[in-house]
């Protein structure tokens, strides 16, 4: 369907619901499902709109969760940071309560899109990169999922495997991160083929906890991941750093992506260099957290 101006409109109609509570959202989802309206939870909506316009997605009802107080919380409570799923990536950067989360997500898309993309939307989207989840994987975050039983907390390791595992009628409401992780040294590396705001060839976020390096990666395989096996090789200090990285790369959970953005061999080459950087920085003397984007290098001192 085209508008008079030549733009392509979403070719189907849907109803719009904006509940004010978790219970309202879950209840209306159930009602709309029973009416075969294939409802979907709507957050920032950027992926839903672009997919709907290309007929890659169909629904007769969207449920916008941006009015639910639990979904827009963004504050420390005692020793934990609570971030609602509807908090935008720009708000995370502006408020900057948790530098690792900020640096792990502030290169997603571009500035004006980040004013619309939400943390929950990025984590639950269909796009392969989902960079915002990397810091959450490193910090043993808790995912607060809304469903028929209200809000339930789950360790991210139990509910995230390539994607966030949500049952029909459930949605991600908020994320909880222990404040202690904000004190740990970390490295953020993002390598793109061309523009800095392009999708990453390789995206590595790593931190050091109790003298062990943790690494979460996206761009290389078709999904974001943190691999204990890969980290085990990375932390094997009985061999040289080069050998550690070589062995770590053999523990990737899936073959490297081979597409027009970069061949599988090139991605592995870039990953190898990035992991060498991780070892050099996190096992070096500097305690500054470092964020690398493309060839640029910026130090963040606290």
């Amino acid at each position: 369907m085209e508008g008079k101006g030549g733009e392509e409109m979403i070719s189907f109609d849907f109803e719009y619901y904006k509940p004010a509570s978790v219970k309202e959202a879950v209840d209306i989802f159930e009602v709309l499902s029973s009416q075969s309206k294939k409802p979907i939870f709507y957050n920032g909506g950027t992926e839903i709109i672009t997919s709907a316009r290309r007929n890659l997605l169909f629904t007769k009802a969207v449920i916008d969760i941006k009015d639910i107080s639990e979904c827009i919380v963004h504050e420390f409570k005692n020793s934990e940071l609570y971030i609602g799923a509807a908090v935008t990536i720009s708000q995370i950067e502006e408020k900057s309560l948790f530098p690792l989360l900020r640096d792990g997500s502030n290169s997603i898309a571009d500035q004006t899109v980040r004013n619309k993309i939400t943390l929950g939307g990025n984590i639950c989207g269909k796009i392969t990169y989902r960079e915002a989840v990397l810091s959450l994987l490193l910090c043993d975050s808790e995912m607060v999922i809304a469903g028929k039983n209200g809000l339930t907390k789950h360790p991210i390791s139990e509910v995230f495997d390539k994607t966030l595992k949500l049952a029909n009628g459930e949605f991600l409401a908020q994320i909880i991160i222990n404040k202690d992780y904000a004190k740990l040294p970390y490295v953020s590396i993002r390598k793109t083929k061309e523009a800095k705001s392009a999708y990453p060839l390789v995206r590595v976020l790593a931190l050091k906890k109790e003298n062990e390096i943790r690494a979460a990666i996206t761009g290389v395989c078709g999904f974001p991941f943190r691999s204990i096996e890969l980290e085990s090789e990375l932390n094997n200090k009985s061999i040289s750093p080069e050998a550690r990285v070589e062995r770590a790369i053999k523990k990737l959970p899936a073959p490297a992506v081979n597409d027009t953005l970069g061949s599988d061999d090139y991605r592995l080459f870039v990953l190898k260099n990035s992991l060498m950087d991780v070892l050099t920085i996190l096992e070096g003397d500097s305690h500054d957290n470092i964020s690398r984007s493309g060839s640029a290098r910026v130090k963040h001192k606290r």
């Binding site: 909506g45 571009d110 004006t112 619309k116």
Partner: protein
């Protein structure tokens, strides 16, 4: 709970005017601004959130109108290029030749206007990050950057 049927009549606050529109709930803000409200300063580009030529301000924040449903804008203040009246960044674009063919200009101006209002002393790095939101196929980026910097220098 707010509930809208597939087609709904509602009010949008745009350029400090309250305007009634009858729209499909699935209409993007881009479509409604151009086709319902007749404000054609906002341009149709990629419709995929990439090019920035449809940038408007929502409560002062630049947003690409192609990736926002019009119903999401209810209760918020929408500003389009028609709502700017001789703001400093418009003059700076003229003085620094921040445009060539002009197609991307409204989107760039909305983004740059927001940047200079929200971050009057933006660093070069921040300016570059913000300008990555818009594409100029005439590649006038340096002049646009100069325009932003000239406004920042005045403050």
């Amino acid at each position: 709970m707010i509930t809208y049927p597939e087609v709904v009549q509602l009010e949008l606050n745009i350029n400090d005017e309250s305007r009634k529109v009858t729209i499909r709930t699935s209409d993007t803000l881009l479509h409604v601004i151009r086709e319902q409200l007749g404000l054609t300063g906002i341009k149709v580009g990629c419709e995929n959130g990439d090019c920035g030529t449809c940038t408007v301000l929502i409560d002062g924040l630049p947003i690409k109108a192609c990736i926002m449903l019009a119903v999401e804008a209810v209760g918020h203040k929408i500003t389009t290029i028609e709502g700017l009246k001789d703001v400093p960044i418009q003059k700076a674009f003229q003085e620094k030749m921040g445009f060539q063919c002009g197609f991307c200009t409204p989107g760039f101006i909305m983004n740059c206007h927001a940047l200079t209002k929200l971050h009057p002393k933006a660093s070069d790095e921040m300016i570059e990050r913000w300008l990555q939101s818009n594409i100029c196929r005439c590649t006038g980026y340096e002049e646009i950057k100069e325009a932003v910097k000239s406004v920042s220098a005045e403050k």
